[in-house]
Symmetry: C2
């Protein structure tokens, strides 16, 4: 039909030590065999319903992870990016709690801080940079960062996650107001965080309706003026 | 190499009678021969540097238009969208002044209001809807609508373009403040709009540095609260 190499790549991100990390996988075949790169591969027309399904399959096969949130980032293409020939990669990104990656325990997956990836095969460093920019922009007016949290969390924990992504402190009152506006979390009945030195805090969880959809606001959390 | 049909499609939009319109082109071959659809076609690996170049070529060949601003929208894919088989279309969108389409004068191009496209071949109605949503969202915090204006325009004319896209009136003072913040237009030295009943108004133009890049602000023009 044509001579275009059609692939998907997934930028799987998580928060570790309060820093955004990306999951890289050692490539087991040429080109760039042995080098860490984004999990990805050929779209299989016989198997994948669409590129989103191909990305979900890739993530599952290569990292053992089913991400609740997987969004298309952009398509990267051209003659130069793959030594095998003219190629296009439909790139997706996913955010998951760190525990999920640890639990999947895939031996070939390594986590690198997003600002320390350096050079990567193909244009993967460029794809990672685009994904990080998307996550930062989108986090400022949506529920996106909550996918980095576990099943339940306190509001101060959630605020710390937003601050880690946005890279700046957020006023606690503005944060609480924004969370009310986004209306994306609900208290877990009777569940308090315990075992800490300070007073137990109410635990929250993502509301069911937002388990795979973002809640959005029209004014950025960190908007100036 | 594979059995995936790789195409690009372009959602070319303009403002006509203060309403956003999309350019459709009568298809000259199967499938859907004779029906109006988005200008698009196969990516040619031998000819196109990347999908962006393919989209620019398609627009030029099929409508005679070189758009200064052409942005990737998203990739639409799957087994069902094209009767010929598993396909993907990397969709782009472009905004141009109405005069540019009239000047190109392509006989097969028709303009339809974006909310009146009805059913279209493939998933083109869905692609148009996604493009319109992108333009509306992006216009609220960027210089995007200026691509709908001609080479020079008055501030009231520019405000009317923003209002047409956003679908709501904008306070004049907020608008002027936002334009200052975006810093995207400059007065055309000595040029005033004339021939109107009211007092001549200063003409402005897009600053050179934004001729192909957006100026962005972090707070929406129509943000509430």
């Amino acid at each position: 039909m044509n001579d275009i190499i059609c692939t998907v790549d997934v930028v799987l991100m998580t928060l570790k030590d309060s820093r955004l990390h990306v999951a890289l996988l050692k490539r087991d075949h040429a080109p760039f065999a042995g080098l860490p790169a984004l999990p990805g591969g050929y779209i299989r027309a016989a198997e994948d319903g669409d590129t989103q399904a191909a990305a979900a399959r890739m993530l599952r096969e290569k990292t053992g992870i089913d991400s609740p949130y997987l969004e298309q980032l952009a398509t990267f293409s051209g003659r130069e990016r793959d030594p095998r020939g003219w190629s296009l990669s439909v790139a997706y990104y996913a955010l998951v709690p760190h525990e999920l990656i640890e639990r999947a325990g895939h031996p070939e997956v390594t986590l690198l801080p997003v600002d320390k990836v350096g050079e990567l095969p193909f244009d993967h460093a460029h794809i990672v940079a685009a994904a990080v920019q998307r996550v930062r922009n989108k986090s400022s007016y949506s529920s996106l960062p909550v996918y980095l949290c576990g099943d339940s969390f306190t509001l101060p924990q959630l605020q710390a996650v937003y601050e880690a992504i946005l890279g700046e402190p957020i006023n606690k009152v503005s944060f609480r107001r924004k969370m009310e506006e986004l209306d994306m979390v609900e208290p877990v009945a009777g569940a308090m965080e315990t075992g800490k030195a300070h007073r137990p805090a109410q635990l929250y969880r993502l509301r069911e309706c937002y388990s795979r959809n973002l809640s959005l606001t029209d004014r950025a959390l960190n908007a100036k003026g």
